[in-house]
Symmetry: C2
Subunit: 404 residues, 2 copies
């Protein structure tokens, strides 16, 4: 008995005709291989948002068991609907909820982590049913309460199930052909990437590219699970997420991404004394504000410094207010959310010089001013004015020869 794990996202199960399409894909798979399938499904698209909204009208705190009881119903419904449809097509199937298997998690409600998956149950059920339709995104705590894994958590459910069942791969079906070199809505020449490493995709996810739930990639990396991200609407090979050693094509830059969710805050005229920056960032940390890019300059006279950093756009006002209310001395504070972070990602950067230089030159040629720079081993990010986003993405896409 060979077992496949296939995950379908919200848009892939959005309505009756799309559920039929999922059933068709499952049917083909069974027909070809006479295998058993563990289907992991998200809620029908839009459902979770509605549930969250309903809950938030009563309580803003989502880290409660009641929040999870509510939002988990989206997957409870979609898994039961899909299983019903499979049974209608005479494919023996049952739905499985987090508590039924169980999928044991810690009790960090709304962002729980999977602790253990009962694979004996899976094996027992696979003797009785050809397809198990697992409600993604959810589990159960030791306290016997429903938990959820955070938005996009169904990816993690799928990878965790593949890991625990000792499989070496897992398919993630979505509404796009795979992972692209850049956002095809902005960069016309964007190409599907054939293979990408775990590290690269983690950088892309942290940079705002909505592709896979980061936890799912971490898990896949830890256990060496290949993830095949592919379209549920087209019968094409998608993007394989693999370890670096397995990657044959070694482009220097794999993808270019952008994020508009940050705001830039600049403080000028800070006394240039040790510990000032630490003080500012500890105020922000205390208020749960995440700081991303940071640049510090010293003015000509050496007495004052200026500090620029980015925070999530939603926290912009709060950050400015907290700093103004503190006893930190500065001459003026300025914030701006009409900015955009452009990042190039690629494991090839490790062994190639001149990657950053090309980025800066390309942007300079386009007369685009770089405001802040930050780098990691496989990524370079720059902050630019928002109106330059499209121009910058396209120019860089060409410069690194990512176009078709």
């Amino acid at each position: 008995m060979s077992i496949h794990v296939m995950k379908f996202g919200g848009t892939s199960v959005a309505n009756l005709s799309r559920i039929k399409n999922v059933v068709q894909i499952v049917e083909n798979k069974i027909y070809r291989h006479s295998e058993r399938i563990i289907l992991v499904v998200s809620a029908m698209s839009g459902v979770t948002n509605k549930l969250v909204e309903e809950y938030k009208r009563i309580n803003k705190d989502i880290s409660t068991p009641e929040y999870d009881a509510i939002v988990s119903t989206g997957e409870q419904c979609s898994s039961a609907l899909i299983s019903s449809m499979l049974n209608e097509k005479k494919i023996s199937s049952r739905s499985i909820l987090g508590w039924q298997l169980p999928i044991l998690t810690d009790s960090n409600h709304s962002k729980a982590r999977i602790l253990q998956i009962d694979t004996r149950s899976f094996k027992k059920y696979l003797e009785d049913y050809k397809v198990l339709v697992v409600a993604g995104f959810q589990g159960v705590s030791k306290q016997n309460r429903i938990t959820t894994l955070g938005r996009g958590g169904s990816d993690t459910s799928a990878v965790a199930i593949a890991c625990s069942m000792g499989l070496d791969s897992c398919e993630i079906y979505t509404d796009v052909e795979g992972i692209f070199t850049s956002d095809p809505r902005v960069v016309k020449d964007a190409n599907k990437i054939n293979s990408i490493t775990y590290e690269e995709i983690l950088e892309l996810a942290s940079l705002g590219s909505k592709v896979l739930h980061p936890r799912s990639v971490e898990l896949a990396m830890k256990y060496g699970i290949r993830i095949h991200v592919r379209s549920s609407f087209e019968k094409k090979i998608g993007t394989m997420v693999i370890k670096e050693e397995s990657k044959i094509e070694r482009e220097i830059v794999t993808g270019i991404t952008s994020s508009e969710k940050d705001a830039k805050i600049t403080l000028k005229g800070i006394p240039d004394k040790p510990g000032i920056a630490a003080k500012i960032f500890s105020i922000l940390a205390r208020n749960n504000i995440n700081v991303d890019m940071i640049v510090q300059n010293i003015t000509d006279d050496g007495k004052f410094a200026s500090l620029t950093f980015t925070v999530p756009e939603d926290d912009e006002k709060k950050a400015v207010k907290e700093i103004k209310n503190s006893n930190i001395k500065f001459k003026n504070i300025h914030s701006n959310s009409s900015i955009c972070k452009i990042s190039i990602v690629g494991v090839g950067m490790r062994s190639n010089v001149g990657v950053a230089q090309k980025m800066f030159e390309t942007l300079a040629d386009m007369n685009i001013n770089i405001q802040v720079i930050s780098t990691s081993e496989i990524k370079i990010s720059v902050l630019i004015d928002l109106p330059n986003k499209k121009k910058a993405l396209n120019a860089l896409h060409d410069a690194y020869k990512l176009s078709k």
Copy 2:
């Protein structure tokens, strides 16, 4: 520690302001008595219908575990929302789903019966929380799958919990003041009934009056639980459902009800031989068609009989077709769904003569033709033409002095 069981129906939890109202009622109860409360809640009104509709687009058979997994989410959400609101008001609370307690049922999906309620869990939770918000209508089977008790089943959840906790009463909050002598939308002078017996309310329920889930009344009768049906919007005493011995006011007729959900089928010219009626009804039974009222006449010459009976309106066409397709001999068949069943109910009938006579006289005085009659110990039903419904209900309401 004294414990109250309070059940709130779908209209009582239909939206945010109504949920606030429920919380207010609970708050008052706790404030006055410093007691523990087990709140049983239905889904927000309209939600269950939507879920049923969604399921039925895929599968018409509702007796599946997947149906129950889907429809049970309505109560899963409402119980968690109400518990969140209670916690917001600093009233310690948690939601409880059928499988969490557990409320063990048989595995007759979509119409399961409660087998056992874990009262030890209840007692343990009541040490930690002032209010437990139980998702009504649902339980869990021995196979660890979600079950539901049938539409209106939250009443049964509430009464069963009161029984198992050894309580002697239970409050059912709804959108009306209590149970009425007749439908106030049709009979202007309809009055709230102060007390009604289990038997009477069971007759009313079987006659089409939507008041309490019949199973809940059966359970209450068996265990001697008083049910207080009252409004969640007005602070008034409602209707007490009690055993006959406790009833002080003994009207002859307690209530008058009507139902439009039947169709009348008449077969003329049937050979008057033994076993013909049995044959007809066995055909209908085989097709899952429920026959209610039955009248058989013999024609003057004694050779032929005519047979009239009622079936649910939805089964009218099917019944006629099955009879036509059978080898039963008859001259002609006629069906009519523009009819109405009017019933008077009251335990006082047992010890009073002339109750039926008054009913027939009253209708005769109004020139309303009675087509079929059926009686039980505490009920008389007659079939009349639908257009006469309002006239008949009002005349009978006056005749039995039920008006204010």
